[in-house]
């Protein structure tokens, strides 16, 4: 960690009813990724949100560090009774992730925010362990 001043950069977390929405529009450095994870966890706990949508449609690189962050957010949210959906992954990023060997097995994905919301609503309506809504 570098010491020193400067306003700490943060990614905003929006609340939409019982869901939280995060749109990542910057090239994530490690510190920012860690801050986002901490902020999201705190916000899920504070609001009792049942779902977290992470929009990565502007993200051009997901390396193993960012992939691990997405997995960790999903795992932590699950413990706090919230479902995480990662939406909008670019095709080139998806192809690269598979080749890299990152499965994102613990993370639900959807093509866009609308479908992500539909998935979360269905997951909430279904019994706790139902996996695939629709």
């Amino acid at each position: 960690m570098t010491a020193g001043g400067g306003a700490m950069e943060r990614i905003p977390i929006l609340q939409m009813g019982e869901f939280l929405l995060v749109t990542i529009q910057v090239d994530l450095n490690d510190t920012l990724a860690q801050t986002l994870m901490d902020d999201l966890t705190a916000k899920v706990a504070a609001t009792g949100a049942r779902g977290v949508l992470i929009d990565i449609s502007s993200v051009t690189v997901v390396d193993s560090f960012i992939g691990r962050m997405l997995n960790d957010i999903a795992a932590t949210s699950r413990v706090l009774d919230a479902t995480t959906v990662v939406v909008g992954m670019q095709p080139a990023v998806a192809i690269t992730l598979v080749e890299l060997g990152l499965s994102l097995g613990g993370v639900r994905t959807a093509l866009n925010v609308d479908r992500g919301i539909a998935l979360l609503r269905a997951a909430l309506a279904a019994p706790a362990d139902a996996t695939h809504p629709e």
């Binding site: 690189v61 560090f65 080139a92 890299l100 060997g101």
Partner: protein, 134 residues
């Protein structure tokens, strides 16, 4: 053949990883790499830059545009003066990590490029060279 363009970036702390990603992306795009190939190369660069900083105590990366009679490519050489890797084969195995990552860095980076070589000496450091051809 000598590279047609060459530059060196310092790798001191994790924010430098973003700089490496952005520079490699810009060079790959300028050369006309497809979006998928750009993404693979940038992702591999991100993994290796993080390795050099996290495990190698920092170093540098040389970025070279190559032009041969029949093909063009980008070569990246990551060097650190860290502890070195005692067992390179093991380090290339998916899931192997001495840190808190997923252990996909080296092996994953190798899968994302056309050429990969690694030289490491315990106590002296590590040099990883990757090339992606268009």
């Amino acid at each position: 053949m000598p590279p047609i363009r060459s530059e060196v970036l310092e790798l001191r702390a994790t924010p430098d990883i973003v700089h490496v990603r952005q520079t490699v992306r810009a060079r790959a795009a300028e050369m006309g790499f497809t979006l998928v190939d750009q993404t693979k190369l940038v992702t591999a660069a991100s993994e290796l830059a993080r390795n050099a900083i996290t495990y190698g105590g920092g170093g540098r990366v040389r970025i070279e545009a190559l032009e041969e009679d029949t093909r063009r490519g980008l070569r990246l050489t990551f060097e650190d003066q860290g502890a070195g890797i005692a067992n390179v084969e093991q380090a290339l195995t998916d899931g192997y990590t001495t840190g808190n990552g997923l252990g996909l860095g080296l092996g994953g980076a190798r899968r994302l490029v056309n050429e990969f070589s690694i030289h490491s000496r315990v106590g002296e450091g590590t040099r990883v060279t990757i090339t992606r051809w268009m």
